[in-house]
Symmetry: C2
Subunit: 210 residues, 2 copies
DNA sequence: CGAGTAGGGTACCGTTCGGTACTCAAAGGT
DNA sequence: ACCTTTGAGTACCGAACGGTACCCTACTCG
């Protein structure tokens, strides 16, 4: 039997859900979860409130979908960086990607995963927790990649992957804050270079044995 | 003529304005400018809405006063760090102070100057701008201190004070984001040490001449 | 053609937002 | 005593919030 292409029953959607989600992501990126109002969102998405609720559930679920899209789009530099052959190149690509993503001329400054819900009222606690988990996941992925570098001999055997990953993540988040404050791409590229001028950093620091 | 101590005319204030401001600062610190509602603030301050308006003007001015208090209190580690004799000690004390302030067991996690208004709706733009200015001021103070170190010969003559200051500030802001996400004090102390394991960082990087 | 199903739009829900008259209470000046 | 000045509390404002009931429209299926 041939699988017949069948359209869904009922009235077809009158808008592009992907494009609407993209616009919602940009609003959340710029204004944060609580700072983005439903009125702003429906205006940017080009649909009415009820269409948004039917398609995405509610504001919180829309935010989670927007975060997924952010992770797969503007934040995809992270996964691309993991594919570099050496830990140094991974770290360099990660920081360079963070700089590029947070200072994109056309888009909002900063990082949705940082400024989306860093501090919130009671209504934004779920979004806050979602972003904490997102950041922790990014840190874990980087830690695993660095651990692989240790196992492969790319980094010294006594290197602390957790510590190095946390350092890179911290610099990335700092870059996001700086970008949100209007610091230029060129200045942040300098910061990224400075952060990696010594790699792996401080062997004498994290190795306690003399 | 002897200056006679005269009490102010009118009914005396029935609450401690300093203590009320302290409590307001803690609420802003934890929830951010927009995330902190007037109801929350008046509950924490122990006064009614009208008393707060009479004493501090409005929510935005209360936030600015709270930021001043934050700068003079929990964020005073910055100025203390500037007094260290060498640039390395300044940077180390600055980062260590940031770690301590953002992970204080009794208080909110993170930094008011970062999470208070990183991304906001239209109503929070003034608070956002105030925090951008606050962060820029902190960076400028650090830059001047580092430039002094260059002038005194503590750092190489070709060291870029702006670049070094921006790097330290970036790591500090990253520490604040990590702290807001629940990363522990010990882990962030490791991050601070890692960030300074090479100081001054990358002479070969910011000196373009071979 | 109905019948069934699902998206779209209007108009509204109750709540909370930041902010403010208005009134009363407590002090000093004369 | 009386007036002025200032703080404190109640009760409220219009606006915006996130969310939804209701009705209409557009499509597939029989």
């Amino acid at each position: 039997m041939t699988a017949q292409e069948k359209g869904p029953i009922g009235r077809p959607r009158g808008f592009d859900a992907d494009e609407a989600l993209q616009q919602a992501m940009l609003v959340f990126w710029e204004h944060g979860y609580e700072g983005a109002s439903l009125s702003q969102l429906e205006a940017a998405m080009g649909i009415t409130r009820t269409s948004m609720y039917a398609a995405f559930g509610n504001k919180e679920q829309l935010f989670r979908k927007a975060l997924e899209r952010y992770d797969a789009g503007p934040a995809a530099y992270g996964d691309r960086a993991m594919e570099k052959p050496t830990a140094r190149e991974v770290a360099a690509a990660f920081l360079a990607g963070a700089v590029m993503a947070t200072t994109r001329p056309g888009g909002p400054a900063g990082c949705l995963g940082v400024q989306g819900a860093l501090a919130t009222g009671d209504a934004g606690r779920a979004a806050h927790d979602a972003l904490v988990a997102w950041r922790e996941d990014g840190g874990a992925r980087l830690r695993h990649r660095i651990q692989r570098a240790v196992d492969e001999g790319d980094l010294p055997a006594d290197a602390d992957a957790g510590r190095l990953a946390r350092y890179i993540m911290t610099v990335s988040f700092g870059i996001a804050v700086q970008a949100a404050g209007g610091v230029s791409r060129a200045e942040l590229q300098e910061v990224a270079e400075t952060a990696l001028s010594d790699w792996p950093p401080g062997r004498d620091v994290y190795a306690d044995t003399p």
